[in-house]
Symmetry: C2
Subunit: 519 residues, 2 copies
């Protein structure tokens, strides 16, 4: 496919049209001003719904037919079941049986368990995927095999796109660990409990037709209702909607790698030296092994100082829950629960609050929670010498990861990326990121096992940590150190064809992803 490209405000060549619709190039952080009104879905009437509230359909197939499934529709799913989802594949298997073509799949994220969708991409049942493609689907797209362009959005960007009417969902299928026949649903209980359903909120509010699929139907009223039955058209009871052990892990483990533990310790020491850990501060760490260790170090520092955090943002896990229960954090504002302790805590503790991309991340709202965080700890596949970040492609050009909440969390007051200097002998700090996902002006600190680099824009942090004794270097020094060890990395072998675009939090296109040249 040939594409008209334009250079955006970040200097990246991006298409002016994406899947047949005009696209706005990135204009700089906070520069694009939206106009117009939020999308309003069609007005329903209770006259069309059963007065007794019972919206059950015999099975998913019947519900999809009742919802009017047909060629070219946009079908959405959520990813709270992560790699344990059993619903998305069934939807497109049914669509294939029904002879439906050219669907757009609009998941909040896709996982390796969705590899079977490849056959539907190949056969024409699915035209393309808008949403992160973790693993095999990303590889498939990177090889130039997907008909349409992939569109990658952050969690907040996905809410924004739906709210603003950029993406109109025809049918949303919401897998719900617990639901009643009216469609009230939550993720707190049942065999597939995942804690919350925030990633499906936009879908429930804005999709034309909403199907709730559950393997734990309870009598009305299902409370609390994280998804409101008043937005739901059909309810389907199924034997199993997810694989519990792949939805949440029974245990979440702190890293045992000495390098990573050292990075975690250095990150916590940096925050302390910079004066960021003070009474009433707030942080978001995440659930990777390094992040967990950082959270633990934060806890130690708080105990020593006799202070507490006002709130922490989850991905929640056992360690964060322990801090809440110990009183070290005032509240967990949680976007997804990563282990069973997180699920339990959200079910039992009113201070463990379920949030959504609307509350936390939507940039086209009247503020959001992300910008209120004192410390945001994030990862990256690559960072460049201008502090630009990449989280979606590897240095070989393969699109293998989603954005998640990463772009949204960049709006935190201090954004720190604890990353190894190299992975598999490939340096992580580059002259230029393969794919630009986050502008360097929003990334404040890089912490590696060989030193810390502070963005020159953050003179306050440079001053505060000047005499801290911490190993503070320039980012160029860190890059050179990595290249001394691993050698100068080769640029990826890329074709000219664009296979996906990366949206910024405001719906503009910040970069494009090229196909990997396999020849």
């Amino acid at each position: 496919m040939s594409q008209n490209l334009i250079k955006n405000a970040a200097g990246r060549a991006v298409p002016t049209e994406v899947n047949g619709k005009p696209a706005i190039p990135f204009q700089g952080v906070g520069k694009y001003r939206p106009t117009g009104h939020k999308y309003g879905p069609p007005i329903s009437t209770c006259a069309d719904y059963p007065a007794d509230g019972d919206k059950r359909q015999p099975d998913l197939r019947a519900a999809l037919i009742a919802a009017g499934l047909r060629d070219g529709m946009t079908i959405s799913t959520h990813h709270h079941f992560r790699n344990g989802d059993l619903i998305a594949n069934q939807i497109f298997d049914i669509a294939a049986e029904l002879g439906v073509k050219d669907l757009v799949w609009f998941p909040s994220a896709s996982f390796p368990c969705h590899e079977p969708i490849i056959k539907h991409l190949e056969s024409g049942v699915v035209h393309h995927i808008e949403g992160s493609m973790n693993g095999p689907l990303g590889k498939f797209a990177s090889e130039g095999k997907m008909r349409g362009l992939g569109v990658l959005r952050s969690h907040g960007g996905r809410y924004q796109a739906v709210q603003d009417g950029e993406v109109r969902i025809d049918i949303a299928v919401i897998a719900a660990p617990t639901a009643d026949f009216f469609g009230n649903a939550n993720g707190l209980t049942g065999p597939s409990a995942c804690g919350l359903l925030g990633f499906a909120l936009a879908d429930s509010q804005y999709a034309d037709k909403v199907i709730v699929a559950t393997d734990n139907l309870v009598p009305f009223p299902c409370t609390p209702w994280q998804i409101q039955g008043n937005n739901v058209d059909f309810v389907v009871e199924m034997d199993q909607i997810g694989v519990p052990e792949k939805i949440v892990s029974g245990t979440t483990k702190i890293t045992k790698s000495p390098d990573r533990l050292y990075i975690a310790e250095l990150t916590a020491k940096f925050c302390d030296a910079a004066g960021l850990i003070r009474d009433g501060f707030s942080f978001q760490a995440g659930a990777g092994g390094t992040s967990l260790a950082i959270g633990n170090y934060f806890g130690q520092i708080m105990r020593e100082k006799g202070i507490k955090a006002s709130f922490a943002r989850g991905g929640s896990n056992k360690y964060l829950v322990e801090m809440l229960e110990e009183g070290l954090v005032g509240a967990i504002l949680d976007g997804q629960t990563f282990d069973l302790d997180g699920v339990r805590s959200m079910r039992e503790n009113p201070l463990h609050v379920n949030t959504s991309p609307f509350t936390s991340y939507n940039y086209h709202g009247k503020g959001n929670f992300a910008s209120m965080l004192d410390i945001a700890i994030l990862g990256a596949t690559e960072v460049d010498v201008n502090f630009n970040g990449n989280v979606v492609t590897h240095s070989d050009g393969y699109l293998l990861h989603g954005i998640g909440g990463w772009q949204n969390a960049l709006f935190g007051k201090t954004v720190i990326l604890p990353i190894p200097l190299f992975r598999d002998r490939i340096p992580v700090i580059r002259d230029e990121v393969t794919t630009l996902v986050g502008p360097g002006e929003l990334i404040d600190v890089i912490v590696t096992e060989r030193g810390i680099a502070i963005n020159p824009l953050r003179q306050d942090l440079i001053d505060a940590t000047k005499n801290s004794g911490l190993p503070i270097n320039s980012i160029h020094e860190l890059k050179e150190e990595a290249e001394r060890i691993c050698g100068k990395p080769q640029p990826p072998a890329l074709a000219d064809d664009i296979i996906a675009v990366i949206k910024w939090v405001d719906g503009t296109v910040i970069d494009a992803v090229k196909a990997v040249n396999n020849e």
Copy 2:
């Protein structure tokens, strides 16, 4: 003012235009089919809101100015503070000081405490009121003194009108018993605690600008957030936003009137005889003295039978809370708390769930809770021999009451009106209601101290209670009995001018209210 009238499906002459906008005449229950899309408010961007989340303005005046208050705007408030509200009057006092004219006040209800608004209606600051006018404002309108037409909607109809874009709120002012600086708010704690804020939900979701006013500012995050800060533009801290003893009563009392107790007992016995009180049934009673007594009788019957209700709809009160705590009802789905026990229970008990007109009553949704109720107990100022009901005007024609959730609750499976045969020697059962608010086809049973009348449409109830020994009469017999005692009532002395319209739950006009002829 001269008005073009048309006869609607209920045979009532209604205007085809209301306050300059076309109005659709009532077409029958479930007959009007909405078209088009829900209203979408303007798209915001976080770039316009403080990154640290602090949206405070120095005072209400500053917030109203910041919100762009100007001539002709529609300003909304909620009525969770009932007759203890201290906010609405201040808004219009400020508007008067600023020289603003022709505002539309769109309260979810107004009360006698809002009598000071009359001077703003007279001076031109307020053009007219859309919303119930309990007491003095209703009298003012009935005397033909309001410039525009009053528009009365049910709680669900108000949500529908806002959702569908019939009413566009320019500025919503939400009085909040507890809030943080970001605008997250709830009604659970603080000196003005009112339990919940569901009547302000539509306002928060759809108004262009939203101001939260609180006398209990708490550190972020205010949880739970019944109103989401992400919908809020400005926050104002005030000394006092409500008069606690007028917001909730410390005690709610069961009637001591022998007649009313008898009506209550008869109502409960009827429900029992008709087989409506069975394990897992649901009911909505209300908070009047008679309703409380009916709830109590329901409790006695459940205890005797060893059964429980699946849920009860509130207006909650001490007695309903006791039933919840005793396990006699599985959950309270509550639209407003009527006493301090209701507030406490909602704060503490996860099974005491806060609802909104969206969940419970909106007819332009994908179903609502109202139609799922087995028994709805409601009041009326008048009923006619065709079982039509009036709740807004007295038999002298004065518009003195709002619709509340009455029209919405008519969709319950069995609707019972326990009413006295006469009030102040004026018969309640008439040849024709002064104002048609609810069509007779939705009203099933009238219970008076002199007998019970069953709507002939409900042959099932007639059959079930045939041999019950209960005093079952025709509605004509009841009417004749009242007239034997009180004499045939005179029709009200009405002028030709229409002063208000009554909207049905779907936004159509079911009746018009005429001015009272005082000459």
